[in-house]
C-alpha cells in the first residue's frame, strides 16, 4: 500500500518546516517551490540528515537505502519524486 503524492508532499513539507525551525533556532521555514534548490534554503547537511531520519520514523521507509539507483536530489520536486518512486514494494 503506497502513500499518495499529496500525503507525501504534505508530510515532507511539515517535517521540513519542523526541522528547519529547530536548526535555525526558531526562524520560520521558507516556502518550498518545486524548483527550490534544497541546499539554498539555508538548511545544511545535518538538517537534511535529520529530515530523512524523521521522515523514516513518520513514513516507515528511507528511500536512500531502498533505491537501487545512486542519486542525491537537488530540488524539492526531485526530493518528492524520489520519495514517491522509492517506496517499499
Amino acid at each position: 500500500m503506497s502513500i499518495s503524492k499529496d500525503k507525501l508532499d504534505s508530510t515532507i513539507r511539515r517535517i521540513f518546516a519542523e526541522v528547519f525551525t529547530m536548526q535555525a533556532d526558531g526562524a520560520p521555514a521558507p516556502d518550498l517551490a518545486g524548483d527550490t534548490i534544497l541546499l539554498n534554503t539555508g538548511m545544511d547537511s545535518l538538517g537534511f540528515a535529520i529530515l530523512v531520519t524523521m521522515l523514516e520514523e513518520e513514513l516507515g521507509f528511507d528511500p536512500f537505502s531502498l533505491s537501487t539507483e545512486a542519486y542525491y536530489p537537488s530540488t524539492y520536486d526531485e526530493f518528492l519524486t524520489f520519495y514517491l518512486g522509492n517506496q517499499p514494494a
Binding site: 547537511s45 540528515a49 536512500f64 542519486y71 542525491y72 537537488s74
Partner: protein, 450 residues
C-alpha cells in the same frame, strides 16, 4: 630534505596558494620562509592561524629548524586551547586569537602575523637546528584533544615529491589544514608543485564551488558528507575535476557510484587514514571497502590484518606516538585502528568504531559525552546514546532516555532545548525516545547497540 628545500625545488613562478585575499607563488613562499627561519631555530612553536598562507610560511620556515611545531585548529575555543598550548610551553604562538588566549591564561608570546615573529623572537645564537616534531591534535572540536607527534617524513610517506607531476594540477582545499587529512593535502599539493586553492570560508557552498571552478580545480578531496552536498548543489557539476578523493568517513557504494556518474572522466579514490598510526592507503576501484587481497598483499610500506574484528595496521616506516607516552599506540609494530571491519565477498568493509564513537559527517561524537549532558538534566533518570546509519551524514546521534517519575509531557522539548544550549549541533540527538528501562549487560553497563 626539509619542507623549505622541497618548496625551493619547484618552478618559482608557479602559483602555490590561491585564497580569496591573495595569490602567492612558490618564490613568495620560499622568500618569506627563508627570512623567518633563523628566528625559529630550536624553538617550540604553536600554529593556530586561520590563514593558510601564514600557516604554510611558518611550517616551511620551522621544518628542520624548530624543535616542535604544533598545529591547533582555530575552530577550537581559546579556553580549550590555552591549557593544551601551555603544556607545550611554546616560545611563540601564531594566532589571531591572541587576546582571548592570553585572557585564558596563556603566557607565551603570541604573533598575529608571521612578520611580527622576528621582533618577538630574535635569533638565538645558542640554539641549533633540529629535526622538527610536527604535533597534531586528534578528536573533535569539543572534547579535549590529544597530541600526536609526527615528522615531515611520516606525514609525507605516501607523497611522491615529483614537481613535474603537479604542473597544471589545481587542488581544492575544503579541509581544516591543522587536521591530519588537511595537512596531508597541503603537503601533497605543495610538494608536487601543484596550486592549492582555498575557497572563502563562511559563505554558501555554491559560492565556494564557484570559486574552485573559476580557478580550475582539478583535484578535490572531501568527506562523503561533503561530496553528497556537492552533488546536491547546482554548481557541483561545474568543477573540472580529474581526481576525486573521499576521506574522513566510511565511503559507501551509493556516493562512489554517484560521483562516478557525475564526473565520468575523473579518477576516484577513497582513503582510509589512522591518525594514531600515521598511516593511510587509498582504494581506487570505485567500490566501498577495500580488496581482501590487501591483507596478504598490502599497499606499499604498510601491513594490514584483522584481529578481534578490528583492523590493525603496521607502518614499516616512521610511526607516530602520543606525546608524553600517554597511551602506548604500538604493539610489535602493529597498531589497533579501533575500526571494526567485516570480510565479505573478498572485500573488507568498515563497520564503525569499536569505541562506539559516532562519525557524524566526519565529526566524531563520543556517546558518553552526550550521555553525561543528558544525565545532568533533572528530568532524565537514565540515558543511552548511540549512532544510527544515515544516507546523508553517514550516521546521526540518537538517544533513549528513561524519564523521572513525575516528568511533564513536554520533557522531550525541554531536554532537547537543554542539549542544544550545551552541545554542538551535530552532537544533539536527532531523535529522543522515551522508554521505561534498558537492558543492562553482565558488566552492569547499558548495552549501546542501536
Amino acid at each position: 630534505m626539509s619542507f623549505l628545500d622541497a618548496l625551493a625545488h619547484v618552478d618559482p613562478e608557479r602559483r602555490a596558494i590561491v585564497t580569496a585575499a591573495q595569490t602567492v607563488r612558490f618564490a613568495d613562499l620560499v622568500q618569506a620562509a627563508r627570512g623567518l627561519a633563523p628566528a625559529l631555530t630550536g624553538r617550540h612553536l604553536v600554529l593556530n592561524h586561520p590563514d593558510l598562507v601564514q600557516a604554510v610560511t611558518l611550517l616551511a620556515a620551522a621544518d628542520g629548524q624548530a624543535a616542535t611545531v604544533a598545529l591547533m585548529s582555530p575552530q577550537h575555543a581559546p579556553q580549550v586551547l590555552a591549557p593544551l598550548m601551555a603544556e607545550l610551553a611554546p616560545d611563540l604562538v601564531l594566532s589571531l586569537q591572541g587576546v582571548a588566549l592570553a585572557a585564558a591564561g596563556l603566557q607565551s608570546a603570541i604573533a598575529g602575523d608571521f612578520a611580527e615573529i622576528a621582533v618577538l623572537l630574535p635569533p638565538a645564537p645558542t640554539q641549533t637546528a633540529q629535526d622538527t616534531a610536527w604535533v597534531l591534535t586528534t578528536s573533535g572540536t569539543t572534547s579535549t584533544p590529544k597530541l600526536v607527534q609526527h615528522s615531515l617524513s611520516s606525514l609525507t610517506r605516501t607523497t611522491r615529491s615529483d614537481t613535474a607531476r603537479g604542473r597544471g594540477q589545481v587542488w581544492g582545499m575544503v579541509y581544516d589544514y591543522t587536521r591530519f587529512a588537511g595537512l596531508q593535502l597541503v603537503l601533497q599539493s605543495l610538494l608536487s608543485g601543484a596550486c592549492l586553492v582555498l575557497p572563502p570560508q563562511d559563505v554558501a557552498l555554491d559560492v565556494q564551488l564557484q570559486f574552485l571552478a573559476q580557478h580550475g580545480c582539478t583535484h578535490l578531496s572531501a568527506t562523503p558528507t561533503m561530496w553528497r552536498k556537492i552533488l546536491m548543489s547546482p554548481q557541483g557539476g561545474s568543477l573540472p575535476l580529474r581526481q576525486i578523493t573521499l576521506g574522513g568517513e566510511i565511503a559507501d557504494d551509493t556516493i562512489l557510484a554517484s560521483l562516478a556518474r557525475a564526473y565520468p572522466t575523473a579518477r576516484l579514490s577513497h582513503i582510509f587514514a589512522s591518525t594514531e598510526a600515521g598511516v593511510g592507503f587509498s582504494v581506487t576501484d570505485g567500490k566501498a571497502g577495500f580488496p581482501a587481497t590487501y591483507l596478504t598483499d598490502p599497499p606499499a610500506g604498510i601491513g594490514l590484518r584483522i584481529a578481534e574484528g578490528r583492523l590493525w595496521v603496521r607502518n614499516d616506516q616512521v610511526g607516530a606516538a602520543y606525546l608524553d607516552g600517554r597511551g602506548a599506540v604500538s604493539q610489535d609494530g602493529w597498531v589497533d585502528t579501533g575500526d571494526m571491519v567485516e570480510e565479505r565477498d573478498a572485500r573488507v568493509f568498515f563497520k564503525g568504531r569499536e569505541s562506539g564513537v559516532i562519525n557524524v559527517g566526519g565529526n566524531k561524537v563520543h556517546p558518553e559525552e552526550v550521555e553525561r549532558v543528558l544525565l545532568s538534566h533533572p528530568m532524565v533518570q537514565m540515558a543511552r546514546v548511540y549512532g544510527k546509519a544515515n544516507p546523508i551524514m553517514g550516521a546521526l546521534v540518537m538517544a533513549d532516555i528513561v524519564p523521572v517519575a513525575d516528568a511533564p509531557d513536554t520533557i522531550r522539548q525541554e531536554v532537547t532545548a537543554y542539549l542544544r544550549a550545551r552541545l554542538e549541533k551535530h552532537m544533539v540527538p536527532a531523535s529522543l525516545r522515551l522508554t521505561n528501562g534498558f537492558d543492562v549487560n553482565a558488566a552492569g553497563k547499558i548495552t549501546r547497540e542501536g
